[in-house]
Symmetry: C2
Subunit: 105 residues, 2 copies
């Protein structure tokens, strides 16, 4: 059975070099998804803890620390620091949406 | 030397429970940044390989496969599948920007 018969709609990388790159990307993406799942588990616990102990939900000084730290880590890893900041903002925005949904329940 | 003397501007979590949560978040964020750095290293190599072998830069069928797979992984990890799709889109948009910048050089 040929590759295209096994999965006629989706086998788009018969090129072995490209297929190998894609395998690495898929492994990294799985790791990213599981890391993000764990991160949201923790931020959910943080949200519950802050509500219970009457701590303020947002902490701008903490966010500035996180941004500065991630930009430095990004530079060391040859990742665009601007992207690392956009990424953290993207994740924090989702955390805020989670907290808002939790408050609505 | 007290904590606030060491870092007067930024020590915002004297609460030990919150500080412990934040340590975990910081560890995960460092892992995410390094995973992303490695992912962009690979997509850069993919871009160069595709240019060299005259493969088309975009592959919509591959993207659909990635989205479907990450949504399923997200569900298994109790992460919002919508978020996993937004996340992949966010990363792919950055990959496209990288490729555009590479072409301009």
């Amino acid at each position: 059975m040929s590759v295209s018969e096994r999965n006629p709609c989706c086998e788009t990388a018969p090129d072995p070099v490209l297929a190998s790159f894609r395998k690495s990307i898929d492994n990294i993406d799985a790791a990213l998804i599981h890391m993000l799942a764990e991160r949201f588990r923790i931020t959910q616990a943080v949200g519950e803890y802050k509500a219970r102990t009457a701590l303020p939900p947002a902490d701008p000084a903490r966010e500035q620390q996180q941004i500065a730290r991630l930009r430095q880590l990004a530079e060391e890893a040859d990742l665009d620091p601007e992207f690392s900041e956009k990424f953290l903002r993207f994740v924090i925005d989702e955390v805020i949406r989670h907290h808002e949904r939790a408050r609505e329940r």
